[in-house]
């Protein structure tokens, strides 16, 4: 009996030895998102937001995983939409180089950078790929949505009167700038807001028309 129990104690660890190293977590149209991609995305977000690396406990937080997964689903939907414009290339190379340089300049050497990234199970190649992808998607979104933004003079005036001036007053600013001086800035702000709104709508449409299946 004792011998059988000892054998049972020894056997169980061997049964637990096979490990799932990766699998499909979600299917978006004809593309898939794997568990490793979710993990990598979570660590990438943590890195660029200067948060601690994602540990196993955090990976078991369902709401956290769902949020990361949602972000990846949206990226996939936008990447699929981008395929409809094969002739166009999106992303500004100089801007990408600037972002990469900014990242590298935070460390005294490339070894220090790599060591820091390794804490997040990331490599420089991972970072480059993520940066490029982000830039391309942002450029594509801008390409698609900016032409749809139509701001009227009334809208600019309303923002100036009802949002900007009260804000400046509440900050204690004595001299309030005239409308013409801040018109360009107001236009920029409202354009960004409108693009975000259009993006939300667009993503909603993409989600409703796409086939999305969560497997885990």
């Amino acid at each position: 009996m004792t011998l059988r129990l000892c054998l049972l104690f020894l056997l169980v660890p061997s049964l637990l030895h096979a490990e799932i190293v990766d699998r499909i977590a979600a299917i978006v149209g004809n593309s898939v998102i794997t568990s490793s991609e979710i993990m990598e995305e979570a660590n990438y977000r943590a890195y660029i937001n200067s948060q601690p690396p994602v540990d196993d406990a955090r990976m078991r937080d369902i709401s956290f995983i769902a949020a990361v997964q949602d972000r990846l689903i949206e990226q996939t939907l936008l990447a699929e939409a981008q395929k409809g414009f094969p002739q166009a290339s999106f992303g500004d190379e100089s801007q990408f180089e600037q972002s990469l340089q900014k990242l590298r300049s935070r460390f005294p050497s490339s070894e220090a950078l790599h060591s820091d990234l390794a804490r997040y199970a990331l490599t420089e190649e991972h970072m480059i790929a993520h940066l490029r992808e982000e830039q391309a998607i942002m450029a594509f979104v801008d390409f698609r949505l900016r032409p749809q933004v139509r701001l009227t003079e009334d809208q600019l005036q309303v923002y100036y009167q009802q949002t900007l001036l009260p804000q400046l007053r509440s900050e204690g600013q004595a001299t309030l700038p005239p409308f013409d001086d801040v018109k360009a800035e107001i236009t920029r702000v409202l354009t960004e807001q409108e693009i975000n709104r259009l993006l939300d709508e667009w993503l909603k449409n993409l989600r409703s028309s796409a086939s999305i299946k969560i497997l885990e």
Binding site: L5, L8, V12, L16, E19, D22, V32, T34, S36, E37
Partner: protein, 981 residues
């Protein structure tokens, strides 16, 4: 029994293992050597993709270091094949390295979709389409409910609001296919209840509802509803509300009464009155030419179309310069007046079209491409307008450019023909061809799988040929079709043209990108219940491992349909959206109902007649003979594309039944068909006698190409003539009344190039038949027979056709003859030798399908005593018809001339045109006549009136025993279906 303290320790040990297992066993696999990569299905499925293909596909290979990125990419690529719904990568230590297993959950694809319904309509096809489930598409259980909803919607359209629909599906792990069954019990069909009219109907709703003619028990199916709506629309049109809008907005079903209320939204719009001023056009023509009536709306496009239609109409009458202005006037409550103001101009006639300056193309080539036409007897004014002329000039210009004359200039000059009055018009088309651009150097690049010589045979472009972009377009299609049918679905084609240094020379290049080649991995066949699998296999034009070819699939589908045993043949590629090079082909069939029974009623009209005692009625009398027919057929006999049929027909004129077995595609040769027949016939279409025939025959048919067919036949028959019905001299009765066994072998050849066998305008038909009846084949009478026919059809212009046909038939006895015993003087029997060909085997002619100067089968020799037709051993017939339209597409007429006769013996054949003396019937009879033809879906109904120009006169023994002279009637009236030849 486990001690309690040990059980507690074990539980704690297990819990801690599970809690820390990710940390304890999250080995850093990265960089470890991969000793094995395996693929395992998650369920008890067969992996349809070969392991070697999967291993080649993925970046993580055996013997290489483990890389998380490679594992991820492997999962992506495995999913992209489209074969797998889920992919999981497991790793396990193995020696010094790691063993990787990809667990694969297969996707399923839609197979047979069977909808069994207890009602029709909707038809099986409609129900199938309503499910939106297509063969070979990805299957997901989430598709079932929408399919059921689709069925529900289409059943509601036919008035079934409470159906029970039960879906069942059965996945097949071996083929990754799912067959689906929907069992539909439609329930009781609803009736139309209340009809509510909303909107601005103008006319009283009760009046409108009456126009729909829906009675209290009217079924609420689509045809009844549509018919009712059509009635309401017509009522609005008749009351000049041409733009009225009618919409069935809603159907409200009441389960307790099983009735459905209809809500109609009606917008009457304004009354519209269409007038034409400045020219006389009938109301019916206005309704035909102005599309406002047909479309039920009034807009600018339709008004312009009406203007164009009127212009074409006046042009056809010779008003080439007519101008038409459409004016729309609103008259408030009185509606809208749409007036076409016409200025006809001078009536003209296009006398001639001349061509100048053309040398590369002859006049005939250019003229046949032109729509303007000079006047002729079928088109008195010709066909002309400036619009048509501009189109013709553009057509000629395009023709020149397509042949390398890129700078061709085509212009036209109009002249009044002063020699024939100012209303005669002449068009001169002036062609300046310019230099012809030719192809210089020509190369085809990028072809890896086929030699350039192979591809060269497909293309039109070659060095020295005229340069033409339209030829390039044709070449592109030919090359891409070739590649698509050789298994390269993503082949692409680009071309360049560069002016050479030499003048008028263009160097050209075709650049091809073949892409990946796809092959057939598996062929899944389903839907066979009675049919043998081998029958289907023999029609497949592809096999495992062959390139995926669209033309082979279509050819297979056509061959399977040609078997005649399937109502539906569906072919699809499984997982068509997936990225794999090895494809599974799905072949799904629906077998046709095997048994068919038909009952028919009809009538024959013609000069027939009962066998009366009155011998003067040699031609018979006009009679209607009603008939009833019964047919039963079984197809797919023994699982083969064979047919067993029974056909019978009963009338006062004829009793006939036949049992037939047809075996097409003998030994899988599509050009070889066999058939066997057992046949009984009792007919009195020959006035002289009534004959009974029992016959068994076998026939082999060989098709050689599209036009030529050969038949080899053996027939064995016994013909008995009813002595009581024989209207011949007494001394002939013993001979001709004997039943005779005839064993006949013949060979037949037919060449058919007619464009349409039921209503031919072009082509020819030639038929030759040679046969022999001999004791070697069991025949009691020995004779040879030869029959030849040649018909040709010529389209003269418009729809006028000149048709002609020539027939020659010869037969002659041979050998010693047969011995028969006859009784002479009523008591003494004697044996005589006779070589007479039995009367039922002789040639007969006369009637609608041979000589319209005679009644049916009345041509040729006659009995010297009774005057009844005896038939003969030689046939000579020539027919000429001029067929032309009379009114529209359905009513036509013919003028005909039939000439010929039947002769007793071959040596009696003559071309003499008149009868030498009474009783001498060796001459050619002529008939002229006129006929009407009315087109029906089954062919033209024919009414012919023929006048015999030189009818025969002959002797007949009267009741008083004296010989009298009798002539056949001059006029024949014949009715039938189909052309005479």
């Amino acid at each position: 029994m486990i001690p309690r303290h040990l059980a507690a320790i074990w539980c704690v040990w297990m819990i801690s293992l599970v809690a820390v297992s990710p940390l304890l066993f999250a080995a850093d696999w990265e960089g470890l050597p991969v000793v094995a990569v395996q693929f395992q299905p998650q369920n008890s499925e067969r992996l349809l993709m070969p392991i070697a293909t999967l291993q080649e596909l993925i970046p993580q290979k055996t013997g290489q270091p483990f890389r998380g990125a490679d594992i991820r990419e492997s999962i992506h690529r495995l999913f992209a094949t489209g074969r797998f719904a889920d992919v999981q990568a497991d790793a396990q230590p193995s020696g010094d390295g790691v063993s990787i297993t990809f667990l694969l959950k297969s996707r399923y694809f839609i197979g047979l979709v069977n909808v069994q319904s207890d009602v029709s309509p909707p038809s099986t096809n409609q129900l199938h389409n309503a499910t939106q489930l297509r063969l070979g598409q990805l299957f997901d259980e989430a598709q079932i409910q929408p399919a059921v909803e689709g069925l529900r919607r289409i059943l509601e359209q036919e008035g079934y609001f409470q159906p029970r629909i039960e879906p069942h599906w059965q996945p097949n792990p071996q083929t990754q296919q799912v067959n689906l069954d929907f069992v539909v019990q439609a329930g009781e069909q609803a009736r139309i209840g209340q009809v509510i009219v909303t909107g601005n109907s103008v006319l009283p709703p009760q009046v409108l509802i009456r126009q729909a003619n829906w009675d209290a028990e009217e079924k609420a199916d689509s045809s009844s509803v549509e018919k009712g709506l059509a009635g309401i629309r017509k009522y609005y049109q008749d009351n000049d509300y041409l733009a009225a809008r009618l919409l069935l907005e809603n159907k409200q079903f009441h389960p307790d009464s099983n009735r459905v209320d209809l809500q109609l939204n009606v917008e009457a719009g304004s009354k519209v009155l269409v007038t034409v001023t400045g020219a006389s056009v009938s109301r019916s023509q206005i309704r035909r030419l102005i599309p406002v009536y047909e479309e039920g709306m009034l807009d600018e496009d339709l008004m312009d179309e009406g203007t164009r239609n009127l212009a074409s109409y006046f042009e056809s009458q010779g008003y080439f310069d007519s101008s038409i202005q459409a004016e729309r006037e609103s008259r408030g409550d009185d509606g809208i007046v749409l007036n076409y103001r016409v200025n006809l101009g001078t009536r003209q006639r296009l006398r001639d079209i001349r061509l100048e300056g053309n040398s590369y193309f002859q006049d005939a080539v250019l003229l046949e491409r032109m729509q303007i036409e000079p006047a002729r007897w079928t088109q008195r004014h010709g066909r002309f307008s400036t619009r048509l002329l501009e189109r013709d000039l553009a057509t000629i210009r395009a023709l020149y450019q397509a042949n390398g004359f890129l700078q061709a200039v085509i212009m036209a000059a109009l002249e009044k023909d002063s020699d024939n009055g100012e209303n005669e018009l002449m068009v001169t088309v002036q062609v300046q061809e310019g230099p012809q651009m030719r192809v210089g150097n020509f190369n085809i690049l990028g072809a890896r799988s086929f030699s350039p010589e192979n591809l060269q045979s497909l293309v039109n472009v070659a060095s020295g040929q005229p340069y033409s972009e339209s030829l390039v377009a044709a070449d592109r299609e030919a090359i891409l079709n070739f590649y698509f049918n050789a298994g390269f679905p993503s082949a692409s084609f680009q071309w360049t043209a560069t002016p050479s240094e030499a003048p008028n020379i263009m160097d050209m290049e075709y650049v091809l990108e073949e892409g990946e080649r796809e092959f057939i991995s598996n062929i899944f066949v389903d839907g066979l219940e009675f049919t043998r699998r081998g029958i289907v296999n023999r029609q497949l034009q592809f096999g495992n491992g062959s390139p995926l070819s669209q033309s082979a699939l279509l050819d297979t589908q056509r061959r399977l349909y040609d078997l005649g045993i399937f109502t539906q043949v569906e072919m699809a590629i499984q997982n068509a959206q997936g990225q794999e090079r090895q494809r599974n082909v799905l072949v799904y069939m629906e077998e046709a109902p095997r048994y068919t029974v038909r009952v028919g009623l009809g009538a024959d009209v013609g000069r027939f007649g009962g066998n009366t005692e009155e011998t003067q009625e040699v031609e018979g009398a006009i009679e209607i003979s009603p008939n009833i027919s019964f047919d039963a057929t079984k197809i797919n006999v023994g699982g083969r594309p064979h047919t067993l049929g029974f056909r019978s027909r009963f009338s006062s004129l004829q009793k006939r039944s036949a049992l037939t077995y047809i075996a097409p595609r003998l030994f899988n040769n599509p050009w070889l068909n066999g058939s066997a027949r057992a046949f009984f016939d009792e007919t009195r279409d020959v006035r002289t006698f009534t004959a009974r025939r029992w016959e068994g025959s076998m026939q082999f048919e060989m098709k050689k190409g599209r036009s030529n067919t050969f038949w080899s036949r053996y027939a064995f028959r016994r013909i008995t003539v009813d002595t009581d019905t024989l209207r011949i001299s007494e001394n002939q009765i013993p001979i001709l009344s004997r039943s005779v066994l005839v064993g006949f072998v013949d060979q037949n050849w037919a060449r058919d190039t007619r464009d349409n066998p039921t209503n031919t305008q072009r082509g020819s038909f030639t038929n030759a038949d040679a046969g022999v009846a001999s004791s070697w084949f069991g025949s009691q009478a020995d004779f040879t027979r030869f029959v030849f026919q040649n018909s040709t059809y010529h389209l003269l212009g418009g729809r006028v056709v000149l048709a002609r046909s020539f027939q020659l038939g010869l037969q002659a006895p041979f050998g010693e003859g047969r011995r028969i015993t006859v009784a002479s003087d009523g008591s003494v029997s004697q044996e005589i030798l006779t070589r007479e060909i039995p009367i039922a085997e002789r040639f007969f002619a006369g009637g609608g399908n041979s000589h319209r100067g005679f009644a049916v089968n009345q041509a040729g020799p006659r009995d010297p005593e009774t005057g009844f037709a005896l038939g003969g051993n030689a046939l000579l017939m020539n027919n000429v018809e001029l067929r032309f339209p009379v009114w529209g597409n359905n009513l036509g007429a013919v003028l005909f001339h039939d000439a010929g006769n039947i002769f007793a013996r071959i040596k009696d054949l003559t071309f003499r045109q008149s009868q030498r003396e009474t009783g001498n019937l060796r001459y050619v009879s002529h008939a002229l006549g006129f006929g009407l033809r009315y087109q029906t879906p089954v062919g033209p109904i024919r009414f012919d009136l023929g006048r015999h120009m030189n009818p025969p006169s002959f002797f007949v023994r009267g009741a008083d025993g004296a010989m009298a002279t009798q002539s056949l009637s001059r006029w024949q009236f014949l009715v039938s279906i189909g052309q005479s030849f």
